[in-house]
């Protein structure tokens, strides 16, 4: 036999070491492998995330001693819910928050669609890449920096008033300001979250479908309404999950650019100084809304578009 032979001249199987025998034993046991792999992250998630959520839920039913101001754990009471239902201010704040969240979502959808469409269907690959980075860039910047930048624009004697004043729009703006400020800033903040899923959704539509629509007599408007919109709708819902839920949970922006409080502000104010059970009970409002929202989004096929 020559030296160049590739045939083994003796048994070349690796030695049966312990780790190797373990690997062989594990090989057909797929579930066990998976379990070992996921045990740590899953344990962490269940304990920390779901656990704290459960405690939050429980604490909504705890009682606050009106005299000492201390919260009594495991002293069950519906007091927090009572004050929520009876307090008109809580209803106003909730409606305001949901209203702005809806408004921000609609605004972002209207702003994002043309941008996403241009990125997905018109722009050359180089321009497209540049735009994707441009859209992502604000997400890499600190949240507070962006909100403070807006604050300087929006505050009394700020940039916006300076621009509006000569047109006699300074006064009307003052009246709108409290709500419009949050609407403007939050629409700006969450716009990328709407553009990206829409862009992905639009890019997935084969060009031939649009050509087929034109070929069958459809003008741009018909093609948009009957082909593009239905196909991109799940992506639109996916984007709206972000814009809606992020607005619903935000409390820093309303605090910094206006005096109109959001659900988050009320929760924050009550969580340490006021009534923690009330904060916990109130936090169930956005959680419930989002659970319903996500259930509807799931039915609309949004999760396949994320």
């Amino acid at each position: 036999m020559t030296a160049t032979s590739i045939h083994a001249t003796h048994d070349e199987r690796p030695p049966r070491s312990l780790p190797r025998r373990l690997a062989i034993w594990l090989f057909p046991r797929r579930r066990l492998q998976l379990g070992l792999l996921l045990a740590t992250p899953l344990g962490w998630l269940v304990l920390v995330y779901l656990g704290s959520l459960f405690v939050l839920l429980l604490s909504a039913f705890w009682e606050k001693d009106t005299f000492t101001g201390n919260v009594e754990p495991f002293a069950w009471s519906l007091a927090a819910f009572e004050s929520l239902i009876n307090g008109e201010v809580y209803r106003t704040v909730a409606i305001r928050t949901i209203g702005i969240a809806a408004l921000v979502t609609v605004t972002d959808a209207l702003l994002a669609f043309p941008i996403a469409y241009y990125m997905a269907r018109v722009a050359s690959p180089r321009v497209r890449n540049a735009l994707v980075i441009a859209v992502l860039m604000p997400l890499w910047a600190a949240y507070l920096v962006k909100v403070y930048a807006w604050r300087t624009i929006l505050q009394g004697n700020g940039l916006l008033e300076w621009v509006l004043e000569p047109f006699g729009l300074g006064q009307p703006w003052q009246g709108l300001k409290e709500l419009a400020n949050t609407w403007l800033v939050l629409s700006y903040l969450w716009l990328p979250y709407m553009i990206l899923p829409l862009y992905a959704g639009l890019e997935r539509i084969p060009a031939s479908l649009l050509e087929a629509s034109a070929d069958l007599g459809g003008r741009a408007r018909t093609t948009f309404r009957r082909v593009i919109l239905p196909l991109v709708f799940p992506a639109l819902v996916a984007g709206s999950i972000f814009t809606f839920s992020l607005t619903l949970g935000d409390y820093i922006t309303p605090d910094l650019v206006s005096d109109a409080k959001f659900i988050g502000n009320v929760i924050y104010d009550n969580s340490s100084l006021g009534s923690p059970p009330l904060a916990a009970a109130y936090s169930l409002v956005p959680i419930t809304i989002m659970v319903v929202y996500l259930a509807v989004a799931r039915r609309l096929g949004a999760f396949e578009s994320l």
Binding site: P206, E211, S213, L216, G217, G218
Partner: protein, 375 residues
């Protein structure tokens, strides 16, 4: 009635061609496409542009089954898209039934397209897909449903109205795409490699079906394919495309029997090329000649060619058994290798394969030597 007679009549009747392309050029990308290529920088500018269609002129008669055949990138699909209106030509004009439609959008052209990927709307049922064009034309609902039903019946998909395209097989989707185009009763139907994604058996079935449908509805079919067999069996006439130009235009028989260029000879069917020194030795003539594999006979090495035949000695280098035929690769003493096919009328596979390495004499009729242009 023979095919050539039928085509002759149809062409004589149609005073105005269904489609006329006049010196159509299409460039993609680069500076030239933006009209800045004029002057001294022309050469440099052109290098960045791709010329997909290079000065194509042709006329397609009303009711004709016309194929555009060529390898990928030869400009056949772009030519089809120029007729449909998805692309506008860099220069030249497109006419449909005597009207200049060069700048008209697709939705204003009386043509419909069957797309290579079918392009069925995934969110609509089969019935809604087929009815799409009719909804846009505001055809009343009752008539729309009737016509969509008729169109589906024509492609043998009655009762599939409520299915989604995703629930159909490839062949069924292809037929829905056909029904969706035909239901609008276009005067010209454009088909972009419509059978490309189907398996061989289904493709052969659909070829016959398409031809039958074309004869039934009597509209002009313009059929893009890279499959030479498909083009030869289905078309009244075909154009062979290469590098954005039409190499040859004619009936299937003309193209196959008398290929005009070396490219056509090579692309349409198997073809043997004999040129230069070998042509002088074997044929006693200068130039490039082609001879089809099935025209050549394999004889014993000592056999003498007949008075109207040419002969060439060589040996069998390779044998490929194909079932009904056997393909022999014969190395000639004069240089070139020729492909020879013979039907296995009496030979078994064992006999055929045993021919490998044997010395042979190839003979064929002088009339089957076809001179071709170097292209």
């Amino acid at each position: 009635m023979t095919r050539s007679a039928a085509t002759g009549d149809a062409r004589a009747d149609a005073m105005i061609p269904a489609v006329r392309l006049e010196h159509v050029v299409k460039r993609f990308g680069g500076e030239a496409a933006r009209g800045r290529g004029a002057g001294t920088a022309e050469g440099a500018a052109d290098s960045s542009a791709v010329v997909a269609v290079d000065d194509v002129s042709l006329e397609i008669g009303d009711g004709e089954f016309f194929s555009m055949l060529g390898p990928s990138g030869s400009g056949k699909t772009t030519t089809l898209r120029l007729i449909a209106g998805f692309e506008s030509p860099t220069s030249g004009r497109v006419w449909l039934h005597g009207e200049d439609v060069t700048t008209r959008p697709p939705f204003e052209r009386d043509v419909n397209t069957v797309f290579q990927d079918y392009a069925l709307f995934p969110h609509m049922s089969v019935g809604d897909n087929v009815g799409y064009g009719l909804v846009i034309r505001k055809v009343p609902r009752a008539e729309r449903l009737r016509r969509a039903g008729d169109a589906l019946a024509m492609v043998r998909l009655s009762g599939y109205e409520r299915r989604k395209p995703s629930q159909l097989s490839g062949g069924q989707r292809q037929r829905v795409a056909l029904a969706r185009a035909l239901v609008n009763r276009p005067r010209v139907l454009l088909l972009d490699e419509p059978l490309g994604a189907l398996d061989l058996k289904l493709r052969e079935e659909m070829q016959l079906e398409l031809k039958a449908i074309q004869q039934e509805v009597g509209i002009t079919f313009i059929y893009v394919t890279h499959d030479q067999e498909e083009a030869l069996t289905m078309s009244d006439r075909l154009a062979v495309f290469n590098r954005g130009r039409i190499e040859q235009l004619g009936s299937p028989a003309e193209i196959y029997e008398r290929p005009a260029t070396r490219f056509v000879a090579g692309f349409v069917g198997h073809s043997n090329l004999i040129s230069g020194e070998a042509a002088r030795t074997i044929l006693g003539a200068d130039g490039t000649f082609t001879v089809r594999p099935e025209k050549i006979h394999i004889r014993a090495p000592e056999a003498e060619p007949g008075p109207d035949e040419v002969g060439a000695a060589g040996h069998v280098r390779e044998v490929v058994y194909l079932g009904p035929d056997t393909r022999y690769l014969v190395s000639l003493e004069a240089g070139p290798e020729l492909v020879v096919t013979e039907q296995n009328l009496a030979t078994s596979s064992m006999e055929a394969l045993a021919a490998k390495g044997r010395a042979v004499q190839l003979t064929w009729k002088r009339q089957h030597n076809l001179p071709v242009a170097e292209g």
